[in-house]
């Protein structure tokens, strides 16, 4: 033996293996040797483009047999003998194709991102926990497990996911686990509840701006704030057709005695803020047209939910069938049921209600232990919940959260509330106390008529949704559904006193009085995140409403007749900028042409001749939007910046409506930071001159076309960390206030059009693919179809069609 050479080479070998078997750092988070090994590493995720998805599987949990027929787009058509087997198979397929996203999203919901991402995610995790996400999920879980049927469904779904997880080996692990070097965790019913709370946060958490308004209240009166952020715009096209009579409320919330001083005058300033807020434009369109407006004399339903666009997509397309019935549509990996879809009798679609269901209460603690708080004239013990946050590569972080009668104290001295020592802000949120919202989808999937639909949606509490409905019997309907507080005027606009129960919610609006409409004379209904009813609705219903899309949809539907599915698909992809059609004449009117630079004069002409459509090539749209944004800053920025807080500027629509009536925009036009008196002409002209500088630059770079300017991109869920897994530079127009609501990486996450004929004729598309594996040809195969405004015909397969040419693979499930 040659001792020294042996020791040196042996040590070198061991060291090399050691280094290649562990993560190399932030840039290369994967163990390189393990990752590159063709037998266990990433190569194993490179799916054969001719891969077969056939299979014969057996599991002890199954009661009978189930067959899954995959079509050419890898959409599974599941045929099971009973409900439990159906949801077992749904869980198995969700896991097989989307495990990583389900795992990541539920860990994020629970506030456990630091376990994967390290110390940089601690702030996010604390925010999730302090908002009470897990607390809310635990509450829902009780309801989900109390009902025998629901318990059986969720248990079967969970068992299906775990059955797949148990088949995993190092080589078959989804790619993202290999890159980030961690492993999937067992599924539980709680994780399904957590996923639904993630949806609640996405859709019913960012709809309030209480903290910002409280801050603004130091400078602006309630009247001023209500004018800056009006709830009922002049041009509102509500869900409930105007003129509809509302039932007189049985109960009217009473404003607390002394509110004039304690609430409206002496609101304390706040320093707290929510850092990880949901996107403002999480919204959607849906509409239904009755048979008397369609060419085939049957209703047509259309729906496109606008969410963050990601790869893998939030949606997974499926057909679920048992001998009792079948349903088809978009499912949410991590939850059973079809969420948006149709069956043999009806179709339904959802948009977000945008209602404010979250308030803050100022809590006075006895001392810095925050274990007792002053409530109804005595010190009341707070429930303390100790949150244990595990952090990758760092010690565990403990965070104690006090729970009050209102809810968890989200902000206190230890978390973003620097003003007070013994105070805190408790958050009260409708999502904290809901039942089994999923029950709505169980029932909708099986609904046969309008009554079934109404029965189904009653179970849905939060996030409030607008459920559009159409049936083969010819009924069309639209209900805004959710559990909404019955508020007194301006309740919850600011942080409320929390020392007694007088500022608490006094009641909920009775479900039957939620805004709704059925078979209106005009023959169509629509919702697009606008206020659901006009000012005659007898309740105070604040919310983050978005109105222009609803106006545009109404503009088209009101004049359309002999409607075809093709017309509805075109409408979903429509680029008409209704906001601009109102605003451009005002901009042109108030421009001082003699004060324009040469490039600005060119821009002025371009906007003048622009057709008001935000198509991908449109330069007019780019100029308009930059001009508008610049004008908004000119008008509002100087006043609102004094809040010393990031506040949202008033909507474009508000500016347009005020400007129509008053060229000083209530006095806000003047720049208060200058001694001179600015007029609207000066501000509009200045904004265009600024815009022209940017446009000149963009034109040099050939980026002035709207799509290029927006740079539409669909990112992998891990964003910048996995940039090569994204699709960037998509050639799509549209904007958040345009029917085709595509922004940079946000927009129609699923487009569906269903004609309630016999047989049903349905179309759909989403920007992604059925497989979550970046190494599969089904990872992103639908993106170009989506981007070009095209659709796939959706196939509600009947039993007996197993030999159809569309069936490409078959997976059989049997009892073991």
């Amino acid at each position: 033996m040659r001792v020294i050479p042996f020791l040196v080479t042996a040590a070198a070998t061991i060291l090399l293996v050691f280094l290649l078997n562990r993560p190399l750092g932030d840039k290369v988070p994967m163990p390189v040797g393990k990752f590159l090994s063709p037998q266990t590493g990433f190569w194993q995720n490179a799916e054969d483009t001719a891969a077969s998805f056939n299979g014969m599987l057996s599991f002890p949990e199954l009661k009978g047999r189930a067959e899954v027929y995959f079509d050419e787009r890898l959409v599974p058509h599941v045929f099971a003998e009973n409900d439990e087997d159906l949801y077992f198979v749904q869980g198995y397929l969700h896991a097989k194709f989307r495990l990583f996203q389900m795992d990541l999203q539920t860990r994020a919901a629970e506030g456990r991102v630091s376990e994967i991402a390290g110390p940089k995610a601690i702030g996010y995790d604390r925010e999730q926990r302090r908002l009470g996400m897990k607390f809310a999920a635990e509450y829902s879980l009780q309801a989900m497990e109390k009902d025998a049927r629901a318990r059986a469904v969720y248990a079967a779904y969970t068992a299906g996911i775990n059955a797949y997880i148990h088949t995993l080996t190092q080589s078959s692990l989804p790619l993202e686990y290999k890159i980030l070097n961690f492993e999937p965790e067992e599924w539980t019913n709680l994780r399904t509840a957590l996923l639904l709370k993630m949806m609640a946060k996405m859709l019913a958490s960012g709809t309030e701006k209480d903290l910002a308004t409280t801050r603004l209240h130091q400078l602006f009166s309630t009247t001023q704030l209500n004018a800056l952020y009006p709830q009922v715009p002049d041009s509102l096209k509500p869900i409930v057709p105007p003129g509809t009579a509302f039932v007189k409320p049985g109960f009217t919330a009473k404003i607390p005695a002394g509110a004039a001083a304690a609430y409206f005058r002496d609101t304390p300033p706040v320093t707290a803020f929510e850092q990880y807020t949901p996107d403002r434009d999480n919204g959607s369109n849906n509409w239904v047209v009755a048979g008397n407006k369609t060419v085939n004399k049957v209703p047509i339903l259309a729906n496109d939910p606008h969410l963050e666009l990601s790869l893998p997509s939030i949606w997974y397309e499926m057909q679920l069938s048992t001998p009792q019935g079948k349903t088809y549509g978009a499912t949410l990996p991590g939850s059973p049921y079809v969420i948006i879809g149709f069956n043999d009798s009806i179709a339904w679609g959802v948009t977000n209600a945008q209602r404010d269901v979250k308030d803050y209460y100022s809590i006075r603690f006895k001392d810095r232990q925050r274990s007792e708080y002053w409530f109804n004239n005595q010190w009341k013990p707070a429930q303390l919940r100790i949150e244990t946050i595990k952090v990758k590569g760092a010690p565990v972080v403990y965070d104690t959260v006090s729970y009050t009668v209102f809810g968890p104290v989200m902000y206190d001295e230890s978390f973003r509330d620097t003003l007070t020592k013994n105070n805190g802000l408790a958050v009260k949120w409708a999502a904290h106390h809901t039942g089994d919202d999923g029950n709505t989808f169980y029932l909708l999937n099986r609904a046969k008529n309008y009554d079934d639909y109404v029965t189904a949606i009653r179970f849905f509490e939060c996030p409030g949704q607008n459920f559009a409905f159409a049936s083969k019997a010819g009924t069309i309907a639209l209900w805004q559904q959710g559990k909404f507080p019955n508020r007194w005027e301006n309740q919850g606009m600011y942080v409320m006193p929390g020392t007694d129960s007088s500022y608490d919610w006094q009641a909920f609006i009775p479900q039957a009085e939620n805004p709704h409409a059925v078979n209106p004379d005009r023959g169509y209904l629509f919702s697009a995140n606008q206020r659901p009813a006009d000012a005659s609705y007898p309740y105070y219903i604040p919310g983050a409403y978005i109105n222009p899309r609803a106006s545009a949809i109404d503009h088209y539907l009101s004049s359309m007749n002999n409607i075809t599915t093709q017309n509805m698909m075109e409408l979903q992809n429509n680029y008409f900028n209704i906001m601009a059609s109102d605003m451009v004449p005002l901009l042109l009117k108030y421009t001082d042409e003699t004060g324009l630079s040469a490039p600005a004069r060119k821009c002025f002409e371009q906007v003048k001749s622009w057709n008001r459509f935000a198509g991908p090539e449109s330069v007019g749209q780019t100029i308009y939007q930059v001009w508008m944004d610049s004008l908004s800053v000119n008008i509002w920025g100087d006043e609102l910046v004094r809040a010393g807080f990031k506040v949202e500027l008033p909507a474009e629509q508000t500016l347009m409506e005020l400007l129509k009536k008053d060229s000083t925009v209530m006095g806000y036009v003047d720049d208060i930071r200058t001694p001179g008196k600015e007029t609207i002409r000066m501000q509009v002209t200045d904004a265009l001159n600024k815009t022209a500088n940017l446009i000149t630059q963009l034109e040099k770079e050939e980026k002035a076309g709207w799509a290029k300017f927006k740079d539409v991109s669909v990112y992998h869920l891990l964003k910048e960390a996995l940039l090569p897994f994204a699709h960037t530079g998509l050639n799509v127009g549209g904007w958040g206030n345009i029917i085709n609501a595509v922004k940079k990486s946000h927009g129609p996450s699923w487009r569906m059009v269903v004609q309630l004929s016999t047989p049903t004729e349905a179309y759909g598309v989403y920007p992604g693919g059925q497989s979550g594996n970046p190494g599969s040809r089904f990872y992103d195969n639908a993106i170009d179809t989506w981007a070009s405004g095209k659709y796939y015909q959706l196939w509600l397969m009947n039993s007996g069609e197993e030999a159809d040419a569309r069936v490409k693979w078959k997976m059989s499930f049997a009892q073991k």
Partner: protein, 119 residues
């Protein structure tokens, strides 16, 4: 001939172990085979290197061809070597080869009598 047999033995055993055990079994395989089949130091290293270099390269290229380069292109970009599946396959082979070659070399030194080498 001995070199050739060693390469074949390492390829076969590495492939079989790779299906059941962690990736670093290639080092154990290289070490054991080099102990069983005595060779000079250079030959020992190169037999281990060539065996797993070729095994991993061929496996990676085959997978990549069936996949139309979809994933290796993306991983290449992720690792900062541009969209070049073939280069990534070569790097894969080099890493596997280096580990196995070093393991085989150390086995060779373990086995070789001192005296004979001095001659």
């Amino acid at each position: 001939m001995k070199f050739f047999i060693t390469v074949i033995a390492i390829v076969l055993l590495s492939y079989v172990c790779g299906s059941y055990f962690p990736w670093w079994m290639i080092a154990v395989v290289g070490f054991v085979i080099a102990l069983l089949i005595p060779q000079r130091a250079a030959a020992a290293f190169w037999s281990g290197f060539v065996a797993v270099f070729l095994l991993w390269l061929v496996l990676a290229l085959r997978i990549n061809a069936a996949n139309d380069g979809i994933l290796a292109g993306r991983i290449g970009l992720l690792l900062g070597i541009e969209k070049s599946p073939v280069l990534l396959a070569v790097i894969t082979g080099l890493i596997g080869g280096l580990v196995t070659g070093l393991a085989a070399l150390s086995a060779c030194y373990l086995r070789q009598p001192k005296a004979r080498l001095i001659k």
